[in-house]
């Protein structure tokens, strides 16, 4: 279903702006969850309206709050700069031009964990606190976080998708959307699958055991939410 009534009313959030504060916090949280561990370094590049009026809307504090694992309604959000210091999260803010076609509330994030694993993400805050992740590690994608989402970093190999979808079938789980993007034939690829329910642990471990799977991350429905 496109547009739940709770996309219209809600989220409960810390002000002042749903797109510039709540959406930004959710994008930060999305990056934190896709990285799968605490962020120690973050390069935060603000585009368009995020760069122009971000300060007044606490976009910076909200993004940091999300990167620290806080939800959009967490009252610690307003003090996230101090929380970042305490949690030893080093961050830098820059302005960036992502091009004419980029959504005005776009941000590109480059985050690193203590073990040097790294994640790059481009996301948009599309209004009312809703977000869309449009790029992960340079691969085009489209993740809204409404449904249970599986993100697979994989080798582009024949039959890979068939194996994955079979595991969904075995779990009796309906796939809502599926998207694969790759840099070139046989090279690295990113697959995102949205389903009408969570992926069982067994299916998850079988997928991570596939030779072509490099990394995978399972995210619950409404995951950047509260």
């Amino acid at each position: 279903m496109q547009f739940s009534v709770f996309d219209v009313i809600g989220p409960a959030m810390i002000g002042p702006s749903s797109s510039h504060t709540a959406g930004a916090a959710r994008i930060g949280l999305a990056a934190r969850q896709l990285l799968g561990q605490a962020v120690v370094r973050a390069q935060i590049n603000l585009h368009g309206s995020f760069a122009a009026t971000g300060k007044g809307h606490a976009t910076d504090r909200a993004l940091l709050a999300g990167l620290l694992g806080m939800g959009a309604d967490d009252e610690r959000l307003k003090d996230s700069l101090e929380w970042a210091k305490k949690s030893q999260l080093n961050y830098e803010f820059h302005e960036v031009d992502l091009g004419e076609d980029a959504h005005p509330n776009s941000v590109s994030l480059d985050v690193t964990a203590a073990d040097e694993s790294r994640l790059q993400l481009v996301a948009q805050s599309i209004g009312g606190g809703m977000i869309k992740v449009s790029e992960v590690d340079g691969f085009e994608t489209s993740i809204c976080g409404e449904l249970d989402t599986l993100v697979l970093w994989n080798q582009d190999a024949p039959g890979y998708l068939a194996k994955i979808t079979t595991l969904y079938e075995c779990a009796n789980l309906n796939i809502a959307t599926i998207r694969l993007s790759r840099t070139s034939r046989g090279d690295a690829a990113l697959t995102t699958i949205e389903s009408d329910g969570p992926l069982p642990t067994e299916a998850f471990s079988m997928m991570s055991g596939l030779p072509a799977t490099r990394r995978l991350r399972s995210l619950p429905a409404h995951w950047p939410a509260l």
């Binding site: 989220p11 409960a12 959030m13 702006s17 009026t53 009312g128």
Partner: protein
């Protein structure tokens, strides 16, 4: 059974087919899609209503000025006026405006609010529903249902246009909120689905072209006063529709107009603070840090 709809024509058909209100259709649509009980959804909405009421309560207590220096204390001032001996248009008028102010003042001070549909427009629907609760005996359950009416109409705007000020200007935020509130008022006071949609059309039609040009980029000037004023705008739209006035332009067309105007609206007037109020002498003086507007008159 499918309760999904993409525009008001389909929504009104569903209402007719099931002899149901907009709130009921919106509730059933959600229950079916999320595979959860209607009771749990109503409860979730009641929780949001409690959050809204709390944000109003907190906002009415604000005496301090916001970090930007641009707002704070006016909700309280309006409430005091509403309690004075002979407030213009009666106590309810000033009190409803005070509620709209309260949410936005609380929001400006990093308070917890419910985006309805956005934070910058979060005061309008709560102000209207709290006003109905005060003076028309709206129950908690009826308030939750009214929020389903509001959101049920909001879904149409979300699907066909946008709630984002950066995309469509203030009309997308305050216009949408006012449209949703007007429809909710009508259903909560016994109007038909058609009357609710007409009230929404009046409310949205008369916000078309509203730009987003806040001073210093803060969600305060004009946003705080606008939330107070457009709560009353929603009541005006509801009154017209309840009186039997039909909106010549149906809501679906008004939504198309809103989207079209939003697309043509210059970027400078869509949440970038590069024009309009933000670039007036007052706005520029504020931005350069020379003058914080004196809102603290004795």
């Amino acid at each position: 059974m499918n309760y999904d709809y993409k525009n008001t024509v389909e929504l009104l058909n569903l209402c007719k087919e099931h002899g149901a209100s907009i709130s009921t259709i919106a509730l059933k649509r959600e229950a079916l899609e999320q595979n959860v009980s209607e009771e749990s959804l109503l409860q979730r909405m009641q929780d949001y209503f409690a959050d809204m009421r709390e944000s109003v309560r907190r906002g009415l207590q604000i005496e301090t000025i916001s970090p930007s220096g641009l707002s704070g204390g006016d909700a309280r001032r309006l409430q005091a006026y509403s309690q004075s001996e002979n407030p213009l248009f009666g106590a309810r008028f000033a009190r409803t405006i005070a509620y709209g102010f309260a949410v936005l003042e609380h929001n400006a001070q990093f308070g917890r609010i419910v985006a309805t549909p956005t934070a910058g427009s979060a005061g309008i629907v709560p102000a209207c529903l709290l006003s109905l609760e005060d003076d028309d005996g709206l129950s908690l359950e009826a308030a939750a249902r009214a929020l389903f009416t509001a959101a049920g109409v909001g879904v149409i705007i979300g699907k066909n246009a946008s709630f984002s000020g950066a995309r469509g200007g203030c009309q997308a935020e305050v216009g949408s909120a006012s449209c949703m509130a007007a429809a909710a008022i009508v259903e909560a006071t016994g109007g038909t689905p058609q009357q609710a949609v007409d009230a929404g059309a009046f409310a949205l039609m008369n916000t078309l072209g509203l730009v987003c040009d806040p001073i210093g980029g803060f969600v305060e000037v004009p946003c705080v006063s606008r939330n107070g004023m457009f709560a009353m705008h929603s009541f005006e739209a509801a009154v017209m529709s309840l009186a039997g006035v039909r909106c010549v332009v149906p809501l679906d067309d008004v939504v198309i107009a809103m989207r079209d105007i939003g697309r043509r609206m210059p970027r400078a007037l869509k949440e970038t603070s590069e024009a309009g109020l933000a670039k007036t002498p007052t706005g520029l003086n504020y931005q350069s840090g020379k003058i914080v507007p004196d809102t603290r008159r004795p």
